[in-house]
């Protein structure tokens, strides 16, 4: 516990962490300010116009559905038109609708938090390995796995806690904007359940990014090693291999890309068409969890295994 508290003190005192936190707050501030500036509380006239448009849309959809069923197309196909009833907020222009926009905003927030977590975790161990701070610590606690494990646990707990607080404040800020200068939309139990699950999965994404950054920097003994790993992966695999898959006409190239699984994890499920456009397949958050587990075992497990036996400068 003493070691964890000491590590936490070191983490929060790092200038890089402070800088990243300022950038995080600035990015959130810009997003909130932009939303406030581009939204207004709908006037009675706008609401009345929206209600008229809803009635018109309902009539149009009903007509299309009847035509569809008359042509005896499959019931599932016709169901597409009746899947979701038009709502007033669909026709309120220049109005921030919390229920419709918060999910995409949360994705943006998590992307930033994941980047934050990756860089902070990588620099937390990378700088210590480069500067000799780790050596100093090991002279006090000559238990390598304990020291490295405590460092990882501390940075994971810190970034996840910060992300949880940031998520609550961020979502709360947009809810307040909706209440004051927009509309909340339909906030039923299903909406909140989906939002909580999305935020929960996205906190997992933050922890994954932090662990990968930490592991890569430990393996490479430098913060830059983690950045190099990401850059190399992105260029060689996400871009290079994707081109090769297209050239050789591989059926399902998205299945082999980490970015597909990141998308599946954040959204819960994503669908892809194969190269020939005649077969659709889904990747779910469970597939993503399996891929993340393999990546963590390789990079974080490898980092601990090598750190146990490595000669330290």
């Amino acid at each position: 516990m003493n070691l964890a508290l000491a590590e936490l003190s070191r983490l929060v005192a790092r200038r890089f962490v402070l800088l990243m936190t300022v950038l995080l707050v600035a990015a959130f501030g810009v997003t909130v300010a932009t939303t406030v500036a581009s939204s207004h509380r709908p006037t009675a006239a706008e609401v009345a116009e929206a209600e008229r448009e809803v009635l018109f849309a309902q009539a149009r959809i009903e007509q299309i559905r009847e035509d569809c069923e008359r042509q005896r197309v499959s019931p599932e196909f016709c169901e597409v038109y009746t899947e979701r009833e038009p709502r007033i907020e669909d026709y309120l222009y220049g109005v921030f609708v919390f229920s419709q926009e918060i999910t995409d905003l949360v994705y943006f927030m998590i992307a930033f938090l994941a980047l934050f977590a990756f860089l902070v975790a990588a620099s937390f161990v990378g700088a210590e390995l480069t500067s000799g701070g780790m050596t100093n610590l090991l002279l006090w606690r000559p238990q390598r796995v304990t020291v490295l494990g405590t460092k990882l646990a501390t940075v994971l707990a810190a970034v996840v806690a910060l992300s949880a607080v940031a998520s609550v404040l961020y979502i709360g800020a947009f809810y307040a904007i909706a209440e004051v200068g927009g509309v909340p939309g339909v906030l039923d139990g299903e909406f909140w359940r989906d939002l909580v699950l999305t935020v929960g999965r996205d906190l997992g994404m933050v922890a994954f990014a932090a662990a990968i950054g930490f592991g890569a920097a430990t393996l490479g003994r430098h913060t830059a090693a983690a950045l190099g790993l990401v850059a190399t992966y992105a260029i060689v695999w996400e871009i290079g291999a994707r081109i090769v898959f297209e050239v050789i006409e591989a059926a399902t190239p998205d299945r082999y890309m980490l970015s597909s699984y990141i998308g599946a994890w954040m959204a819960g499920e994503v669908s892809f068409w194969d190269q020939y456009g005649d077969r659709q397949y889904e990747l779910t958050w469970m597939h993503a969890a399996a891929v993340f587990a393999v990546a963590l075992a390789a990079i974080v497990g490898g980092a601990f295994a090598t750190f146990r036996h490595r000669d330290l400068a």
């Binding site: 003493n2 200038r15 000799g132 701070g133 100093n136 090991l138 002279l139 000559p142 036996h309």
Partner: protein, 331 residues
């Protein structure tokens, strides 16, 4: 495993070869032995790249040995290091501290990580002379102040054994003297000190025992006085008016005489009074008769064959690799 010995540090047959990914290999330690007994201030000397720091790092578990046995405070190292670490204070080379922390905060964090009472922080800051500068950021410290902070961190645990790698590095003359006094105080309090340094005059002043390493092997070990006396040739510097006549007289008596510009160096002198008697009897009055006692620097340079040749700089790996000269170390 508990070793049945009183040695605070015992190293036997330590070997370490650093290998590179390209297949290169550099032998850092080649069967190195060292014994440090309780209460000693033990100097650890060697040319650059001779294996001093590798030895200390290996002993402290930072580098893995290829072969050999080590013990600290009677416990096998590195396996038992977690148990003995609270009794061992160490600095290895120039330790790096987190620049944005103050010296005081740095020590508090270390104390917290090591389970040391916070009161010790003020005590060690005072001990190393940083009490009034303890709230300044470490990145603003001079090299000497960082070195003092490093020593403070090593003292924080009130160790039984203190391992200091180049503790005088960057210290001003007053700081070097304070460091010397500090080590003496610690030794008189019963703390065993192992200190590696390139400042041989300091080692000679501070240490009671010494081990010299060259190219990964021990070349000499024992009490400082014994190591020096092993190289004492009984030489005297003699100044007289007529150097040629004096050289003849002393040479005829069978003593090796080297004539220099304004003095003679006479070796194998048993009783210096004999020289004054012989020369005085022949009307030559001695104006200087000084014993040429070897100092640690000259012994070190001889033992490691690193005496510089003007115009022909010695390369790092040109140090000698002879057999051990053991001068009375107990084992």
């Amino acid at each position: 495993m508990v070793w049945p010995m009183t040695a605070v540090i015992q190293i036997e047959g330590l070997r370490k070869t650093f290998r590179t990914l390209r297949g290169g290999a550099r032998v850092a330690l080649n069967g190195f032995d060292m014994t440090v007994e309780a209460g000693q201030i033990h100097g650890f000397l060697g040319p650059n790249g001779s294996g001093k720091t590798t030895t200390l790092r290996t002993l402290l578990g930072l580098v893995r040995a290829d072969d050999g046995r080590m013990s600290i405070l009677g416990r096998t190292a590195p396996e038992a290091l977690p148990e003995v670490a609270p009794q061992v204070g160490a600095i290895v080379e120039s330790p790096q501290f987190f620049g944005n922390f103050s010296g005081r905060r740095t020590l508090r964090l270390l104390a917290r990580a090591g389970g040391v009472p916070a009161e010790r922080v003020e005590a060690v800051l005072t001990q190393v002379g940083l009490r009034d500068r303890g709230d300044e950021r470490v990145k603003g410290y001079s090299l000497g102040m960082k070195q003092r902070l490093a020593v403070a961190s090593a003292l924080l645990k009130q160790p039984e054994l203190l391992i200091l790698d180049e503790p005088a590095n960057g210290l001003d003359p007053a700081g070097i003297r304070e460091m010397r006094d500090l080590m003496r105080q610690l030794s008189s309090a019963g703390i065993t000190v192992l200190v590696s340094s390139h400042i041989l005059a300091e080692i000679q002043l501070i240490c009671d025992h010494v081990t010299i390493v060259s190219r990964g092997q021990r070349v000499a070990t024992g009490p400082v006085a014994a190591v020096l006396s092993g190289f004492d040739k009984g030489e005297y510097r003699v100044r007289v008016g007529d150097l040629d006549r004096a050289a003849d007289v002393l040479g005829t008596a069978g003593l090796p005489v080297t004539k220099n510009e304004d003095h003679l160096v006479v070796a194998d002198v048993g009783d210096p009074a004999w020289i004054t008697e012989q020369l005085g009897r022949r009307g030559m009055w001695v104006s200087e008769l000084t014993p040429l006692t070897p100092d640690l620097e000259s012994v070190f340079l001889q033992l490691t064959a690193t005496t510089p040749d003007p115009g022909a700089p010695k390369q790092v790996d040109e140090a000698i690799q002879p057999g051990t000269i053991d001068l009375g170390v107990q084992s």
